[in-house]
């Protein structure tokens, strides 16, 4: 059995922390964070399932498949998107 803290962390990670290839569900976008509306418009709203497809070599760009579309965004912004792993 896994310790409770680790189990808890698994449910409280941000989009930036997802490993490549993992899928997870959006729980919440931190209110009034940068670009929250832009992200909501492309489908990053609570309940949406997504897959982290890849990470760029430098600079922290990540590629996410959301609503069957590949979107690139920065880890800095992805940290404002809270996820739950399936």
């Amino acid at each position: 059995m896994k310790p409770a803290s680790e189990k808890n962390a698994k449910h409280n990670i941000t989009l930036a922390d997802l490993p490549v290839g993992a899928s997870a569900t959006v729980v919440k976008i931190i209110p009034r964070s940068r670009g929250e509306k832009k992200f909501a418009d492309i489908g990053l709203v609570p309940g949406t399932e997504l897959i982290l497809e890849s990470r760029a070599l430098f600079g922290g760009l990540i590629r996410v498949k959301v609503m069957e579309t590949s979107m690139a965004l920065h880890s800095a912004d992805a940290r404002n998107i809270l996820m739950r792993r399936g």
């Binding site: 919440k28 976008i29 832009k38 709203v45 760029a56 070599l57 579309t69 979107m71 690139a72 965004l73």
Partner: protein, 766 residues
């Protein structure tokens, strides 16, 4: 005459909107710009069964949220009076994402028609649509199309014609956000109704109520709506107090995706869901951490190879064609009739414009290659791969493509920066872009490098020039980011559209759209500069010279006139035609002498030939001397002489100074101007005599300084004009021009002075 209908075409980026637009309007298009912003506006005309239609292609957006200039434009256009119908293009292979915009458009309560585009992709994916059910849900007819294939919009045309006859009876519904939110919306809408705003009578107040509750910036900018703000805030507070929504500002988006989920569950089914498509597999390699960068570099290399190698034969054709044109004008137009106009047209206009048009194949091939990368979807991957590296220099992934385009021509490259959403990054990219060594600087390097550098260093020197440009650009970007454009950038969000095979038609269209700009430059700036420079180079004409050149030339010619026996000696090595000519004029041109093979000559022949060469050389020297004297007397010569004290610290004499000033209009002008100044007739970068002249008159250090100055100063007036337009500011354009000129001057000054002090390359080698 019947009424002309106005239809707006709206949809997500990459939904195939442009192909639907092209399929409907064909060639009847008009491309322009929305005033004050850099978003392209496009409209076209077509006819269905006698009904005239104006189709307005709106920029691709995900939402009407006004979080980008494009969204703001779509908001403005759609809320304008006079739109009869909205064609909403949907990528039907990804219905959930695409219908999000539809839910907002429906709120405008303007007759709407849904275009389920890419229906072939949807079928392949196993998506099945219950069309009647969806038509009922959105209260709008639905046409299934394949915009990219010929005849793929047949159903759309049929349904559109039926809809236009029945516009009043549309049934676009009020989509529900759930009872709790709907009540709040109604309360705000009531307040707006009470304001009775004349200019928005045609749009339901509910639309603005929803936007106010989203705190949408386009809506907040409408002053008439200000009295309703308080109510909207009140309702948001109320909704969070009853826990209907949390305070995220995105609850409307939440609910919209909820609506779509509901609609999709009922009307869309998936039969054979393929989780991993081919596109994803390709992307696993293309954007791979390890392979991404090498693949990218290989693709860019291939693009340059294609541009420069494949365009070569076409360039030769154009070069030949302009030579032929000038010759035929010269021979068809007697020297006696309007001699000044004749020489202005042949030596000024045809040579000047031809010199620029020679690069058209290069430019078109480059744009064709870029269109392939764009239409296939690779460009977005390139931006993804390069983002990290570019960010280190204060730029970003989307800056990379315009910078690469800059190697071709700075003008379209600057226009390509429109894809960069962040205003700050876009400005930085535009400001450093002229430092990318464009095709117009190439002729200058091609003239200078072989004149001063040994064959084994020539390719290296060329590479050095490009690298200097790139390094200075990156350092400048870094400095700007840390000073005038300081602060956090905007949110970066970029779609990586699925890979697609580009259609030839769209590639050619996009190549032509951009190539046109280069042609316009040739037709306007280059044409004007050629005429002005020609006049400045010719007038005022000197009539009295320091010595009687004509007489001296005549003297040399008489002294060396070929006698009967000399001609007999040469007869075996000349063609019949050449011999006849020689007999006629008593002289043999330098060209003919050089054409004679040096082998198998007997001593007598050699002796005669040497005499001819010597005589020809003294005639040429006298002609050059006269030319130079005439030149100094002209406007160009006087300006050059006047500015010489300013330019001599960077190693320029008056001739280089005049050429550099002319080159401020366009870099290509430098070579032809220098050619005229050295009186070598029509010079181009292959002119060997001009190179010899340069090697005789300048040091390698001066040669390098010429190239450095050319690289760093503003490439051409067209670039300046496009910077002004894209940044919408004369100040920015002037700052750019002065800044680059100062950079070029002081960098060259430093190099020349340091080189002179350290005695590097200061010996004349010619």
């Amino acid at each position: 005459m019947g009424k002309r209908f106005k239809i707006a075409l709206a949809g997500n980026p990459n939904c195939g909107k442009t192909s639907v637009f092209n399929a409907l309007t064909g060639a009847r298009q008009h491309v322009g710009n929305y005033p004050g912003v850099t978003v392209e506006s496009k409209s076209g005309f077509f006819e269905i069964g006698g009904i005239e239609i104006e189709l307005i292609d709106l920029p691709g957006v995900y939402s009407l949220s006004s979080s980008s200039p494009e969204e703001d434009i779509v908001f403005q256009e759609l809320t304008k009076r006079g739109i009869d119908l909205i064609l909403n293009v949907i990528d039907s292979s990804i219905p959930r994402r695409s219908l999000y915009l539809t839910t907002q458009i429906a709120e405008l309560h303007i007759p709407m028609m849904l275009v389920f585009n890419m229906s072939d992709d949807a079928r392949k994916k196993g998506l099945k649509f219950d069309i009647p059910k969806l038509e009922k849900y959105f209260g709008s007819p639905i046409a299934q199309t394949i915009g990219r294939s010929p005849g793929g919009v047949k159903q759309l045309v049929e349904k559109l014609s039926a809809s236009l006859k029945n516009l009043e009876k549309h049934g676009v519904p009020m989509l529900s956000y759930g009872a709790d939110i709907d009540d709040s919306i109604s309360a705000v809408a009531k307040k707006i109704d009470a304001l009775s705003i004349e200019s928005f009578k045609h749009i339901p107040s509910r639309f603005f109520a929803i936007k106010l509750m989203e705190r949408d910036s386009s809506t907040m900018k409408i002053p008439e709506l200000k009295p309703a703000w308080a109510e909207a805030e009140e309702q948001i507070k109320h909704l969070s107090s009853i826990h209907a929504v949390d305070d995220t500002g995105t609850f409307m988006a939440d609910r919209r995706y909820g609506m779509i989920s509901g609609a999709c569950r009922d009307a869309i089914s998936m039969t054979n869901e393929k989780r991993r498509e081919i596109s994803d597999k390709i992307d696993n390699i293309m954007t791979n951490k390890l392979f991404g960068l090498p693949i990218f570099l290989a693709i860019i290399y291939a693009m340059f190879w294609f541009t420069f190698t494949c365009a070569e034969p076409f360039m030769d054709w154009i070069d030949g064609a302009f030579g032929l044109l000038a010759d035929s004008v010269k021979s068809g137009w007697g020297e006696e009739t309007l001699p000044y106009l004749r020489s202005l047209i042949t030596d000024g206009v045809i040579a000047g414009v031809g010199g620029v048009l020679v690069f058209l194949p290069n430019i078109l091939f480059l744009f064709f290659a870029i269109a392939i990368l764009e239409d296939s979807g690779y460009m977005a991957r390139a931006a993804f791969v390069m983002d990290g590296i570019m960010r280190k220099f204060g730029l970003q992934g989307k800056s990379f493509v315009p910078l690469v385009l800059g190697f071709g021509c700075n003008v379209p490259a600057i226009m390509a920066t429109r894809t960069i959403e962040s205003e700050r990054d876009r400005k930085t990219t535009i400001m450093v872009l002229p430092l990318m060594s464009c095709g117009a600087r190439l002729p200058v390097y091609a003239l200078i490098i072989p004149a001063f550098f040994a064959a084994q260093y020539q390719a290296f020197m060329m590479w050095v020039m490009y690298v200097i440009g790139v390094i200075v650009a990156l350092v400048a970007a870094r400095i700007m980011k840390n000073t005038i454009f300081k602060g956090d950038g905007e949110v970066f969000l970029m779609e990586l559209p699925p890979y697609r095979l580009p259609t030839l038609r769209s590639l050619l269209l996009s190549m032509w759209d951009r190539g046109k700009m280069y042609l316009t430059k040739a037709g306007t700036i280059i044409l004007g500069t050629s005429i002005i420079l020609y006049i400045a180079n010719t007038y005022p004409e000197k009539t009295e010279f320091s010595k009687d050149y004509d007489a001296q030339i005549e003297l040399v010619k008489n002294g060396s006139r070929l006698g009967e026996n000399q001609l007999d000696v040469l007869a075996p090595i000349l063609s019949a035609e050449q011999l006849a000519q020689a007999k006629d004029s008593g002289e043999i041109s330098q060209e003919t002498v050089e054409g004679v093979s040096a082998e198998n000559l007997n001593a007598a022949q050699k002796e005669v030939l040497e005499k001819i060469v010597a005589a020809n050389a003294s005639v040429a020297a006298l002609e050059n001397e006269r030319g130079a004297e005439a030149m100094e007397y002209t406007v160009s010569g006087r300006v050059g002489k006047f500015l010489e004290p300013v330019f001599s610290p960077i190693g320029f004499d008056w001739k280089l100074t005049t050429a550099s000033i002319g080159a401020l209009a366009a870099k290509e002008v430098f070579v032809s101007q220098l050619g005229i100044l050295y009186a070598q007739g029509e010079a181009d970068e292959e002119s060997v005599p001009l190179r010899e002249q340069l090697a005789k008159n300048y040091t390698p250090l001066q040669g390098f300084c010429i190239m450095l100055f050319t690289l760093l100063s503003i490439p051409c007036l067209a670039t300046l004009a496009v910077i002004k337009r894209e940044l919408n500011s004369w100040t920015a354009a002037i700052v750019e021009a002065v800044g680059l000129l100062a950079l070029a001057y002081f960098a060259t000054l430093a190099v020349y002075q340091a080189g002179t002090a350290l005695d590097i390359g200061t010996k004349i080698i010619g």
